[in-house]
């Protein structure tokens, strides 16, 4: 459902933090793949479990 104008102006602080984090991460030597996975986990899937973050950092095959 599209959010009405009444709610669009609400400050989404977590999203601000995540965007800032991902932008900063792009400036490091962490690969673009990792940044993309973290973006998907944090902003798209919005799953914040340890397993999901490990998978984003190391890739599925290395996350255990």
């Amino acid at each position: 459902m599209t959010e009405s104008p009444a709610v669009q102006e609400m400050a989404d602080v977590p999203a601000q933090v995540f965007e800032s984090f991902l932008e900063a991460l792009q400036g490091t030597d962490v690969s673009a793949e990792v940044v993309a996975r973290l973006r998907k986990t944090l902003l798209v899937d919005q799953t914040y479990t340890e397993g999901a973050l490990k998978a984003a950092i190391w890739g599925e095959e290395q996350s255990t």
Partner: protein
Amino acid sequence: MIRVESITIKEFRGIRDLTLDLNGRNFAVCGPNGTGKSGVVDALEFALTGNVSRLSGEGKGDVSLKQHGPHVDRRTHPDEARVTVRITLPSLNRTVTIERCLKTPAAANIAPSDPEVLEILRRVEAHSEIVLSRRELIRYVLATPGKRAEEVQALLRLHHVEQIRVTLQKIANGSEKQLVPLENAVAQARDSLLRVLEIPELTAESMLAVVNAQRVVLSLPALPDLTEAVSVKDGIATQQPGHPQRIPKAQAIEAVQAAREALAEVASGHTITCASEVRAALIALEDDPVVASSVKRDVFYATGMEIAEPGACPFCDTAWDLDDLKKHVQAKTEHLKEVALKRTAAETKIAPLAATLRKAQVSVETLDRYAALATPPWNLQGLSEFSTNCATIADRLATLLPLSGTTRVLSGVSSVPLRLHDAIAEFEGRVAALPDPTTQDAARDWLTLVQERLEVWRDAIRKQAAAKERALRARQVCDTYSTASDGVLAGIYTDVEKDFASLYRLANRDDEDKFHAHIVPSMGKLGFDVDFYGRGLFPPGAYHSEGHQDSMGLCLYLALMRYLHGSRFTFAVLDATAAEPGMHHRWPRPPPQPSRFHDCRTEPSVRRREDELDLRSGVPTRAVGGGRHRDQVGARGRIQLRRGATDHACLCCGKPVAVEPVWPTGRRVGVRSQVATALHAGHEERGRSAVLDGQGRLSAAVQRLAQRAQHRMLSHPQLVLGQKS
């Protein structure tokens, strides 16, 4: 966001039947204690969110919305407890009616129920912080930095931000922790390789020199280098199937020496001391019931939150709010910090002990493997048993939990059975009796062993390198996240800090026009210092009066809400926030409006005397009260009675007050009913001060009960209890 036009409350909390026409304007509810002001606040919250926060959530004990939401006299009839609120949505230019019944609080009748309307109401429902009491507001000010951070994080929806910071920290720490055993494994593999090569340093040149010397014996070409693709055995014919493998005599003798050295280390005084220290550390953890249970729960919490899903508990199907659950569990895990420190100290002591055991395990396993090559295999008692025991203890030490099991295995960690020494001696004797291999066989055996150990060493290095890369990446992600989130939050808190100080200066401009504050976020904490009349920055509770502290709580809340909602922060219901009777400084004037909150409506529940009720903002404000408040009400508006406004009508029931006997002594009725009865009597007397129990039948005990009672009428005359008794 929304504006409340009217609210009708029936059999809800302390209110029997009440309709208030707020007409979309600011509204203050005032009156003496227990007159139902908070009931109006609760009703508004209930209508908008389906919940009453003071009756639900953590720390509310046995109180519940369903049981204690209905009026006390109709508490078994939740179907009669209803709140109907009529609101306008300025953004949609619509008027909406919401009706909720306590029997089915989640099922609101909403008309009209367009998707746009429902979306806004859903958002309102998700922001229960629009309704707060003084007690909740003051927490922002007086809490410890850690607790304040939690409160503010909850308000700003920051719990995920903090949760991720903690999780990334945990991942980084965990991945670095895994490096220690891998480094030990590399060192062991290197030592093992050096031992068979019989060279002092592991360089490519020195390795090639000794390897090629043996290859010459087998007429094999010299190796130019030792890359990972190269085997020192290249060119040696593979073992024929069915051809029994020989025991490499020289290596077996070397293995005996290695096993004896490893066992000597196990039985050494150093190992005994180390085991004793580890045991003491674990017993200290085990002896503390809180710590011990916390250690066990650490794993439970982590695992539980990994698999927890929205909806309900997978064990008992009890419905839960996953965010609340996570917050609850997070608070518990905070208590594990002390445990984590003790545990880390124990694990530091455990690491070398586990390494010693692994070394002994591998060396004895080697003997066992050689013994199996004999024809028939040598059955040497105790070898496999000991290596298995070493592996079990090392695994247990690595796992740590349960502590009792780990402590138990430590008791025998340094003992080496006598029969093991016997078995090794027997093995040594049998090996010595073996015929010496030919020069070629010896070279072949040696190269085979070198290749085995080279592969073990290379594998250990690969694993270590991979783990290092993982740890470095995890640390980099964690540090970057911490820096980025600290930066964003610092910016937010700077904005909030400025807005807070500005609001506070406005609210207290008579005496604090130079006020400033400092909000300092750091590692899950939120420091908060305020200026005290130019004398420096101090915690809010240090020198400021309670009234000023209350004012700070409200201003901080307003600043946070304004940050969160921006110009859409237009509605708040605040309970017990205006002023204490006889005090001038809690909220000396209404919330700083209209200049600061042009469109924001607040519904403060006021505790103050009529002569202090100074709503001089210029914003149309209504007050509900009675008795001595009547003039004030008259000036600002009218008491809205459902069945007509009359001084003789009871807001409990809306009916003219009937003459009833006062205090039927000995009758077992609820306190609230007693007070209601007394108030009816007070109405009948029509005095501005109803002196109850004029006939002396109001006992002191009943007075105390009545003073504690929650149920009074909004329009009753000033209540003076028991002056004649």
